[in-house]
C-alpha cells in the first residue's frame, strides 16, 4: 500500500498543504513585527546621516519629533497627499528619472522646529553584484554633504561591502555636489590612500572595489539629477531663512 502511486501522490499533496499552510500562517503572523524592523532600520539609516546615534536612543521618537517627510517630483514640486514612507524607492528606481516619485526628509533643528538643518535624500543604484542604496544628507546650503549611509545586498565582503562601513562613509563628509550653479556630484576615485581633502568633488577610493565605487558614483549622478530642480529652487530660499 505504501508503495502505490496513489498513496505517494496523496502523501506528497498532504505534506505540501500542511507545510505551506503552516508557513503562510507564520509569515502572516510575524509580518507586523518584521515590517516594524524594516521601518526602524529606514529611520535609523536616515538619522545616522545627520547625527551620531548612541545605543539606546529612541529612534522612533527622535524621528517623529525632528524629521518631516514629503514627496516631490522631478520638477521639484511637492506632491500633496503622498507619504514618503509609502514610496518604494527600489520600485521608483526602475522608472525614468522624470517619472519618479522622490521622497524627501527634512531634519529640523532641536529647538526651532521651523528651521531645516539638513535635507536627506534617498539614493538607489546597482553595485557590482546587486542593488545598493542609502541616504545622503545635505547641509542647509543644499550643497555640502553632511553625511551618507549606504547599504548593499550582495557586494563582496571585505571589498565592495566596505561601502556600508563608517570608515568609507565618513570620507564623504564636507564634500560638495554643486560647483557654483553646475551639478558636479561626488566621485569615488580609483586607488586608495590618496588625499583629496582639497577637492570637494573627489573621494578617496576603495582598494579592490572599483566597480562597486563606480556603482556608487552612478547612483549619485542619477539621484542628484532627479533632485537637482528641487535643490536649485530651494537653495536661495532656505539660505535666506538661516
Amino acid at each position: 500500500m505504501r508503495q502505490s502511486n496513489l498513496y505517494i501522490i496523496l502523501y506528497a499533496a498532504a505534506i505540501t498543504i500542511v507545510c505551506g499552510g503552516a508557513l503562510a500562517l507564520a509569515s502572516q503572523g510575524l509580518k507586523p513585527l518584521q515590517d516594524a524592523n524594516v521601518e526602524l532600520e529606514r529611520k535609523q539609516s536616515i538619522l545616522t546621516t545627520v547625527l551620531p546615534l548612541k545605543k539606546g536612543d529612541d529612534i522612533n521618537a527622535l524621528y517623529a519629533a525632528r524629521v518631516k517627510e514629503s514627496v516631490i517630483d522631478f520638477q521639484g514640486k511637492v506632491k500633496e497627499g503622498l507619504k514618503a514612507s509609502d514610496i518604494d524607492v527600489a520600485k521608483e528606481y526602475k522608472k525614468k528619472p522624470e517619472e519618479r516619485l522622490l521622497p524627501l526628509y527634512e531634519f529640523r533643528d532641536q529647538t526651532d522646529l521651523t528651521k531645516v538643518n539638513n535635507v536627506v535624500l534617498p539614493v538607489y543604484g546597482f553595485g557590482l553584484w546587486n542593488d545598493i542604496w542609502g541616504f545622503v544628507a545635505l547641509q542647509a546650503d543644499l550643497n555640502t554633504i553632511q553625511g551618507v549611509s549606504f547599504q548593499h545586498k550582495g557586494e563582496t565582503p571585505g571589498l565592495g561591502a566596505r561601502i556600508s562601513s563608517e570608515e568609507i562613509q565618513d570620507r564623504f563628509k564636507g564634500k560638495s555636489i554643486f560647483d557654483a550653479d553646475v551639478l558636479k556630484s561626488v566621485f569615488i576615485q580609483k586607488g586608495e590612500g590618496n588625499d583629496y581633502s582639497n577637492d570637494p568633488h573627489k573621494v578617496d577610493g576603495i582598494s579592490g572595489a572599483t566597480l562597486t565605487a563606480k556603482g556608487v558614483n552612478n547612483m549619485f549622478v542619477d539621484y542628484f539629477t532627479c533632485y537637482k530642480n528641487y535643490l536649485k529652487k530651494n537653495q536661495s530660499t532656505i539660505t535666506q531663512n538661516l
Binding site: 502523501y11 510575524l30 513585527l33
Partner: protein, 220 residues
Amino acid sequence: MSTEIAEVVEKKSEPLFSKKNKKLITNPLDIDNPITVQVLGVCSALAVTTQMMPALVMAIALLVVTASSNVIISLLRNTIPSRIRIIVQLAIVSLWVIMVDQLLKAYVYEVWKQLSVFVGLIITNCIVMGRLEAFAMGNKPGPSLLDGLGNGFGYGLILLLVGFFRELFGGGSIFGFKVFEALGINYTGNGLLLLPAGACIIVGIIIWVQRSINGFREAH
C-alpha cells in the same frame, strides 16, 4: 534496511535517558562531532564565526532545526513512502528553516541581517539531512530528539569555540565586549583570523587537539 533498525530499537522499551540514549547527546560533542569528526557543515562554520553573537544564533537555529525535524520525521517514519522519503525530509527541513528565518527576522533583525543566506542554507546542511536519514527514519521520537539535540550541541560547541578565538584575537572582543581595552592592553587585531582562512586554521587546530586527546589513528 531502515525497518530493520526500527525493529531492533522498538522491541526494547527503555527509559528516555538510558545509558545508550545519553550517548546520543554526548557522542556528538566529542568522538562523533559533526564538524571535527564527520566534517559536515564546515561551510557555515567558517562563514558565521567572525563574531560570537552570530555564531551563537546560528548554533541555536541549527539546534532547533535538527531537533524538530528529527522528531517530525521520526513520528512520520512509518507512513513515509520510501520512494519519496528524501523529498519529504527536505520539505520538513525547509519548513523549520523558513520558520526559524522568519522568527529571526521578526525578533533579532540585526543578527538576521548578519546571518543572511546562511540560515537558509541550513536546508542543505549535511548534518540535518544526515541525521534524518541515518537516525530519525529508524528510531522513535524520543531518541531522535536526543540525537538531534546532541548533534546541534556538537555543531554549536565548535561554532562557539571557533567564534571565541576569531573574535578575541581577530577583533579583540567577546560578544562585542572589548576585552583587551578593558584590561588596558593595547592589542591590534589579527586580520587573518577574520578571514575564512583563519577559521580553517582554527578548525584544523581543534581537530588536531581532539585527535591527540582521543588517540585517533588514521586507518590505513
